[in-house]
Symmetry: C2
Subunit: 344 residues, 2 copies
DNA sequence: GGCGATCATGTTGACGTCAACATCGACGTG
DNA sequence: CACGTCGATGTTGACGTCAACATGATCGCC
């Protein structure tokens, strides 16, 4: 409209001072109105509100943060190739944080090397956050020198017990037990297991729990198959497994690998669940529509997100350290990929 | 623990003044070192660096932002139930932004009602961001009063041409043409289409391009089937389609629906690609392991993310408005779900 | 009617950083 | 040796907000 064409566009908006001038009050009164303090005359308040609208006032959060020493913002450290679970958890974290009046700062780790993780933490130091949720698998932390700024509240979403930070995660052990017992209860002599990468604590927990459940029931423990969470690794394992008629039941550590495994079994002409029962872990949005629809263990990512934000905010606001790990229970969803073994 | 229990926990760290005191220099010199200015004596620089380490100095980004009138941070408005594509794009955005030295602020829209979208924008006003990328489907914007703070750089990731903001998106039309022509080239008389929800501009573009391709080739245009992106809606449509022997080729607007459709065809005993060829859109990580592996159109979410960040940063730094929409090309990935029609 | 309580509003300064300007010493040149 | 230059370093103030304190007006009560 006007001829004001500043070449360098510093987005200096209007400040309280501008509003104050228009409304004919002091800056402090504007501040009181902006923060909803009670001790302002109704007429004055209206005048200020009108002035705010007129000049298009929006509070400057940098100034506010500087003044208060708080950012009302939390950082979330995620690994670049955010896995299915992490994505869902991130979603829940964002929702919970927003509901609690906190902003969410994404801090991606650009690659898996030590340096990159360290860099993420360094960057963290310069970020405007009051606390951090770590969403990468803990073994990646191990390798990096974990140099978190002292006094920065942290919550780790993982199943590792190695750190001195509050921990929130799905109850991996309970979920794996659910899966294994389901297959055993159907009458299978034992259950094979396709696990995730050994570097993942979650994978380790699921594996251990599967082992333990078999042992408790007096079942033989077959050799462990190792995958890397990807459908491809499930597919490759599936090709091997299809050749062994002894195998009648498999517990796969995530649904993605289960998908690849199903494909391999189809290719080899093995019927599911007729020849082989399969249970997954996660319950992705697609799992109900695999062929056949997959029996799986449903994780409550929403709950994990919510709990971790709660824990972090409590830490931020009260300095409270909640050292008991939070384990969010899972739920078995039975579909068509599991059935009793064929009579011999 | 100690007796000093400040009720309000202000996380005041050490400031430049502290470093300056320890190093025996002025705050300004510390500032120069922190910002890598050249005109500092080497010995002095080392002394300051040592002092920084000693007191654990980290720059206060709030103060910096206040001083500079810039936050070096961009906001990304996302819809709560971030779809597969949005998640991938977000990932790419985060990576690109970080690489360019910008932080990423997540601004989730908590539900689809008008009020919620407006709230997100209002909140935006208080956020510390230099610009915004809008990742929700544009029709949701339509419904809300779009009240973006004036002068705030914005980039929209969508296929709508309704807005006065720069737009970046996958070239939906080109992708849909690729899919349709592939099926036609195999010898199918025509191609059916299971589209996404009409409210989605992306879905509309794919649909229009499919229609146009058929018309250009002089093929009959079958009635449009409408889904909602979910595997379930694909499944339901699949049940209908399986009953119609006329149908030999289907282009499904996303891989999730294609998965559901495949399941329905399996259930009805129709063979793929023997009886029916299916092409999807997206190329998710799982699509290669569907049964059968899915022929699909690969979107480059990474490219979309990168380009939108680039556009936004250019806008922020140069005030440049790039009004030509950016269309990122797709690529057809041929797998086993497509084949020539059976000879009659 | 005098005095303290209550309430609206104003004034001041500090949060941490950094651009702009000021200072000071060293060095080169005619 | 007087003067100008350049490079290192210091000093000041402003960015926008808000707590703490200050002011001044109104009201109730003995």
């Amino acid at each position: 409209m006007t001829a004001e064409d500043t070449p360098v566009r510093r987005r200096r908006g209007s400040s309280m001072a501008d509003v104050a001038r228009v409304a004919g009050v002091s800056g402090q009164t504007v501040s009181r109105v902006a923060n909803g303090r009670a001790n302002v005359d109704a007429a004055t308040r209206d005048r200020v509100l009108a002035a705010m609208r007129e000049v298009g006032y929006r509070p400057n959060s940098a100034a506010r943060a500087l003044r208060n020493g708080q950012f009302r913002s939390i950082g979330v450290i995620v690994f670049e190739l955010s896995s299915f679970g992490n994505t869902r958890t991130l979603d829940a974290i964002a929702t919970a944080a927003t509901t609690s009046g906190y902003a969410v700062n994404l801090l991606p780790v650009l690659d898996a090397t030590q340096g990159a993780v360290s860099t993420a933490f360094t960057r963290l130091g310069e970020q405007a956050v009051d606390g951090v949720i770590i969403l990468i698998e803990a073994h990646q932390l191990d390798e990096a020198e974990v140099m978190l700024p002292e006094g920065l509240p942290v919550v780790v979403v993982d199943s590792s017990a190695h750190y001195d930070y509050p921990i929130v995660d799905t109850d991996q052990a309970q979920g794996a037990r659910l899966a294994t017992e389901h297959l055993l209860d159907l009458g299978h002599a034992t259950v094979w297991h396709l696990g995730g990468p050994p570097s993942s604590f979650a994978a380790a927990r699921r594996l251990r729990s599967w082992q333990q459940t078999l042992t408790e029931r007096g079942c033989p423990v077959p050799p462990v198959l190792v995958g890397d969470w990807s459908p491809r690794s499930g597919y490759e394992t599936g090709l091997e497994l299809a050749a062994d008629p002894e195998v009648t039941a498999v517990f796969v550590a995530n649904d993605h690998m289960a998908l690849g495994l199903l494909r391999a079994l189809h290719e080899k002409g093995r019927s599911i669940p007729g020849d082989l029962s399969v249970v997954g872990f996660d319950d992705t949005a697609e799992s109900a529509h695999f062929w056949p629809p997959l029996t799986t263990v449903r994780q409550s990512f929403a709950e994990v997100g919510r709990r971790s934000v709660d824990a972090l905010i409590r830490e931020i606001q009260a300095g409270e350290h909640h050292h008991d790990p939070v384990a969010v229970p899972t739920e078995l969803v039975v579909r068509n990929s599991t059935a009793p073994p064929r009579k011999k």
